[in-house]
Symmetry: C2
Amino acid sequence: MASDKKKRRRTDSDHDGAATSLPHQKLLKPDSAILSSLKSLSAATSSSTSSTSKALTLADLSLSSTCREVIDLSLSSVQSSIESLALSITHSILSGRGFSFSVPSRSAANHLYVPELDRIVLKDKSSLRPYSSVATVRKATVTARILQLIHQLCLKNIHVTKRDLFYTDVKLFQDQTQSDSVLDDVSCILGCTRSSLNVVAAEKGVVVGRLIFSDNGDLIDCTKMGMGGKAIPPNIDRVGDMSSDALFILLVEKDAAYMRLAEDRFYNRFPCIIVTAKGQPDVATRLFLRKMKMELKLPVLALVDSDPYGLKILSVYGCGSKNMSYDSANLTTPDIKWLGIRPSDLDKYKIPEQCRLPMTEQDIKTGKDMLEEDFVKKNPGWVEELSLMVKTKQKAEIQALSSFGFQYLSEVYLPLKLQQQDWL
Amino acid sequence: MASDKKKRRRTDSDHDGAATSLPHQKLLKPDSAILSSLKSLSAATSSSTSSTSKALTLADLSLSSTCREVIDLSLSSVQSSIESLALSITHSILSGRGFSFSVPSRSAANHLYVPELDRIVLKDKSSLRPYSSVATVRKATVTARILQLIHQLCLKNIHVTKRDLFYTDVKLFQDQTQSDSVLDDVSCILGCTRSSLNVVAAEKGVVVGRLIFSDNGDLIDCTKMGMGGKAIPPNIDRVGDMSSDALFILLVEKDAAYMRLAEDRFYNRFPCIIVTAKGQPDVATRLFLRKMKMELKLPVLALVDSDPYGLKILSVYGCGSKNMSYDSANLTTPDIKWLGIRPSDLDKYKIPEQCRLPMTEQDIKTGKDMLEEDFVKKNPGWVEELSLMVKTKQKAEIQALSSFGFQYLSEVYLPLKLQQQDWL
């Protein structure tokens, strides 16, 4: 028995010669055929991206309401803006008028989905935050303190987390939600992105595959990052020099699927970049994905769970979260395709009943609410899939494919999806 | 004003020439003096590690109760063990005796802290899991199924997550806690580590600094990983070829402190390897830390919050968790030093009152419980610090140091700790 053990072990070269016992495996064409169709697709994407997506900004649209967006500012511009603001406040105080901040509103009523841009933006409503009112004196003080701290960061040219910021003055901020919220206000007041303020979020995402980029001056080759991959840097402004020979970017919701693909070096069989935020998208991963899409002009294909939250995650990458709508231009990646797992895949790929999960009341409600969202409605294919999910009341995780074998995802499901260009 | 902006910006070369306005900063000696004392320390550690720590195993001790430990097995040994087990079960069934698994107990009563080894181990109590009993038929079936799935992994030589494993037979396993728990049983039955079974946990940790290692065949230089660092690989068996010119390993509890040190490239000023699991230690990071300590023979200094959970985290790295005590020999890193933030540091470094947090009832209870734990009691310095914490009822996070400026951690606190060799 020991003698034939080696023989039975899977080697990297048996992709094409394996026994075709798995469902749908016999439909698979040779890799070369799939690759050549992907190549023509990639060429089409990069030409269309450069001609259309690049052109459309808020300024190009004649919207009924004025909208507000922030931009990336250099550190010295942020510094100057804070200094100008401080000067104008000083003048106001010296002239006996006291002072007050004019803060753009980030409440729900001030949000707008712009179909032409396919993302949520902030309208132009603002509110005053006077120092001389009992109701706002604390918040005005917090705002001034945050502005002062950001000014320090500009002088030192370093990055800190929101948590660090909170700890510089616990007595004033009381709890972190207060300093976090005012930090978003300060972005809006100064009209710049949070990254421009040098305040970064904890890193969570990883990337592996056909991508080379520089992180804080070090050149990183993501095909040489083993199975662990490269942690996505928290500060996008120190990321640059992206280059790639990939044909697409594979955006994966879950860590487990990412690991399967990294271990199988899926990116060598089908040249791609694989990226995951391990669940809810964090700001660093969203910025990184957008930067890849914009600089490399590659199609982005999303592999998420077949449940309302999978689609929700896709929507955060695609058109932004309401909380940070003021920065949607920088945080969102246009034109993400829904590859799978889609509700119609459950029957198509014959996912066994026991691997499907019944949707809870809450799931169904979330699904129905999403059917009303503009970003879903503008894509008839998504409406159809989501309606099917709500109708069948069934959901499934990416891992459900493991019921056909641990490598079904990388060896059958994904290749077939690519071959059939089956995304919406 | 614009003209002197550049001047005021911090450059990387001002470590020694900076104004000494921060608390304790004037105590700092030149880096060269700190480095030379660290070098002699490092030499002492590596010689002591090789002579003592290496020698002690369970077998060397004459303990009153027999203890059970698992070892790393090659994939083919795991495969053979499963096949032998299947054969013996077949014999048992054919001879009319039915079958039953003998499963080592992992209940609290079966745990033992061994001071000589400084870790928790599993005693030798086992229980039978017969197929012919209504109470255990399900669990026996689950055990057989998990064994079969692990056997498949051996044949294919791939790694999967616990979640993948669960999804291969949702109908049988019902929920993931059941397949997870039986997976630990299977480790104990076969007497091998969970890594040997090729079932890996989600990766969470990152590493940066003076370390070179190979991940799945790719050589990684962790000084060239920018600010993001390298994600710690989920499968330790594909990690190798570690080399380093570091003087110590800095184990950091929190992401924020890690980022501060990575951005400041602290490892270039004081040659070290910086590692974090971003909170609770995961199995991959624990295995990675142990491997670094064992192969590189470097002292490990821990930077954790000054609260009972910081010490708890230190203890999981140091002497293991009860849930996986059967594998404590492979998962634990001996002789981790508690660098800070220690309760006595709060006054010593004059952490402002508003950055200290009052301990909750639960915190105080956890602290008191930990004072009774063997791994705390064997270190009189730890007992003293923890008693102080419980007495003052104050806790503080690493970030509390930010109240002296964002870079106080990397520019004053840590250098001074290293200079004074102030760890326990």
